[in-house]
Symmetry: C2
Subunit: 489 residues, 2 copies
């Protein structure tokens, strides 16, 4: 494809995307396909000769589009939002179009410095303590800062590895007779039992123990008394508590751990407190939600994902640390081809991959085109829509809300056995007009309704509610019908 064809095809694809969004409400939100649906239509080998792009694009529309889940549809209420906005899409287009990657400052001065700038912007927007920023004041050494990671899984893994390294260095002095492997085998991580599965994965990969602390029934926050006790018991058993992942906005119910209570315990016990606010982060830009982040001053690291609630395309997980050197110590490599001018924002020792794309570009586009107020408005709209759904739910006595609504998630179920709710969700997803996924709270099945799209309006919530009610009618009547029938038999 030459540049002339690129102009033509590129513009057609821009139109395709615009058309897609203009008509996004007109189709099922999840496709009606079965595993293997695509494989059987595609050849088993790549072509020998190159084909015209128009043919490939035709096949894209014919074969791929019918198997897409419409994550950006206002009728998509599953998982958590996957960030998207037109300015972010264009930021990525420019980044990919230039094809300029980065690891050292010299490999991409603009991309490297822009990331430093926007990470400080973003940190200030959620009012992080200044220790987390690159920007330094007279009183503060210049040792903190932020960087863009792929996902929260990486943000958690790299901070856990940095904490592991720091703990080894510290414990070697305290236990000079113990070998590193003995110390390693005694390291233990904490989180609430509501933590995201990526913490399990990180602990598995880092080869450290993990203890999940029970949560309080009323708000699914970590039970701090249980935490204190667990740390005491573990230490008595010879284990070394070294890392705790506090969750702000859990996956199941959007629960918030209490940093102000957990933080002092971590500080006292020399435990690296990491905060995962993957979904909730942008909410802290609103004064009414910022108290949920109080206690962040006790943390050593903090992440949230602009690619969730902040209108930024995947991938973009923002991670801040108070001590950049801790990451460097855990991950430093120094081949000759990277030895050039150094700069504080260089990524090579911050992340698992060496090369990275210029993700700061889309973030910059989002922050400038929406501004602080635009993002606040987006967050507040999601909360308002969730509250609207909550109020509709409250009017129907067949349903039960099972957790407090804080941001854009409403957890609910049909009263009665789990099977009723399972049947309801199955019926709804089979129909495909809206999409939700299940969750679990204290072992009990529930349905998660999440506000996801940038474009969601009150009508969309009423539409979703009408779909849910209609399917509930069907499922409950079916159930009653079956019961009657059984009674007769």
């Amino acid at each position: 494809m030459d540049s002339k064809q690129f102009r033509e095809q590129g513009k057609q694809i821009v139109d395709f995307i615009a058309d897609y969004f203009e008509n996004i409400r007109s189709q099922r939100v999840i496709p009606d396909v079965r595993p293997g649906f695509l494989q059987k239509h595609l050849p088993t080998e790549a072509p020998s000769k190159g084909e015209e792009f128009v043919n490939v694009k035709e096949d894209f529309e014919k074969f791929i589009m019918p198997g897409i889940v419409h994550w950006q549809s206002p009728n998509f209420h599953a998982y958590y939002p996957c960030g998207h906005s037109f300015p972010a899409v264009l930021g990525d287009l420019l980044s990919g179009g230039l094809g300029s990657i980065m690891f050292s400052w010299a490999s991409n001065p603009a991309g490297t410095e822009l990331e430093v700038v926007v990470m400080d912007w973003l940190g200030k927007m959620v009012k992080l303590p200044e220790d987390f920023l690159f920007e330094f004041t007279k009183d503060k050494p210049h040792v903190g800062g932020g960087c863009i990671q792929n996902t929260a899984s990486e943000s958690i893994l790299v901070t856990m590895l940095a904490a592991r390294r720091a703990a080894l260095d510290r414990l070697r002095n305290r236990y000079p007779d113990d070998d590193d492997d003995v110390i390693m085998s005694r390291l233990i991580v904490y989180s609430s039992d509501q933590v995201h599965s990526c913490l399990d994965k990180a602990a598995m990969l880092a080869a450290v123990k993990l203890r999940k602390i029970p949560t309080n029934d009323e708000d699914q926050s970590m039970n701090v008394v249980a935490l204190e006790k667990a740390v005491k018991v573990d230490e008595a058993m010879g284990l070394h508590p070294f890392y705790l992942c506090a969750s702000l906005g859990t996956t199941s119910t959007c629960a918030f751990d209490d940093l102000k209570k957990i933080g002092p315990i971590c500080q006292r016990e020399s435990i690296w407190m990491h905060i995962d606010a993957a979904y909730s982060g942008p909410a802290f830009m609103c004064p009414e939600f910022r108290p949920l982040l109080d206690g962040v001053e006790f943390a050593e690291s903090f992440n949230f994902n602009p690619h969730k609630l902040m209108l930024t395309n995947f991938d973009c997980s923002a991670l801040w640390v108070k001590h950049r050197d801790m990451l460097k110590k855990a991950m430093h490599v120094d081949p000759i081809y990277l030895r050039k001018r150094s700069f504080m924002g260089e990524s090579k020792d911050w992340e698992i991959p060496l090369g990275r794309s210029m993700r700061a570009l889309k973030l910059w586009f989002v922050l400038r085109t929406y501004g602080l107020e635009g993002i606040q408005k987006h967050v507040r709209n999601h909360v308002k829509m969730a509250k609207l759904f909550e109020s509709l739910l409250a009017q129907d006595s067949r349903f039960e809300q099972v957790a407090k609504v804080v941001l854009g998630l409403v957890c609910f179920k049909l009263k009665g056995t789990a099977n009723k709710s399972k049947a309801l969700l199955k019926a709804i997803n089979n129909e495909g007009l809206i999409h939700m996924v299940p969750g679990e709270l204290n072992g009990a099945y529930m349905i998660r309704f999440v506000v996801c799209s940038e474009w969601v309006k009150e009508e969309d919530i009423h539409f979703a509610w009408s779909v849910i009610k209609r399917n509930a009618d069907k499922v409950l009547q079916g159930g009653e019908a079956r019961t009657r029938h059984m009674g007769v038999a």
Copy 2:
């Protein structure tokens, strides 16, 4: 930004990218900027109110573009290529435009299945043994397959972690009296001393020992006698050899380890052999280079990066394994919101991140629009250009070639002390008309000339050579002048 503005701005950006490529030879390939150049132009806080996109785009051109390294310029000869092509850019645009991510089949049926299809296509194109493919025959259980990872760093890390897990399971049976942490502390990884720095990082993160085996002087391949001896010595010391990373196309000199010799040793010693062919992989689509991959049948896993030599935008590292279960065992998590229909290509247990974008799309676009023959042509053009450079170099007795040219890399230096070559490279990069980075071979400084751009032509090589020669004249005359001056003084 609404869809109408997106149409307008998106098309302008498409034109911007096309213009950029049409004029790419007209500018310096590396910018003339100093650390901090961008920071000082940008405000220290994000705006409160959203701004017009056109203003942001203007600032992009004014502040960002002057700090970009032009990785796709035919005058860029540094590092290794960063893959790029117009079809790949459009694949990413569609993926980002739809904003549909994936982890389970249910979250993105089309993206999940397309990845299975293109990974099999790609595996067949480099003639991988069928154990590495999803496609199964009557004789073969259905246990291998490939997936897209971010970068080679991840491909190596996840296979090392899978190998660690498999080794622990195996060694627990052999050493029932040893605790896991004792076994862990005795695990040891091997590679040649020419391996990419990401292996050092992976071993650090996986908390296992790493031994680098010396290489043969004539071709920088791993010294197999030294490997056998090291394994023997390590085992005698009670260590457990469990993973070896063979390099095909090293970063320094594009050297190739001999899989046919290393493989049987690994097989005998139950060492997981991984092959990293990050750069060289696509060359194996050409029959004349495929013998370099002979012995792949001994490997448990193999990766190459389409985002290097295969015209695919970053990020896209292709990883194949013979036993998918090995990855699953090391990284399996199973939260309720992911428990739906399962499908062999699901990524959630293949990678560190949970969510992923639809990267198979750009790969599909590249494979179809170039076809096998188009990619072969691209590889052969790079090799031809490197050979041309080699022949020019051979005509100038001031220069010395320091390693064999196999693909698109030529390593050379000025005869005499390293300082001369350092001065030459510095002069060239200061001028900024072409860009190269240094390397090291046996502790000696050298300059790496890499063919990188899709659009590189013979004229570009002649241009690069003229820049190098002219600067050599300057540096060597300067050197002589200084010598004379010192003589006079």
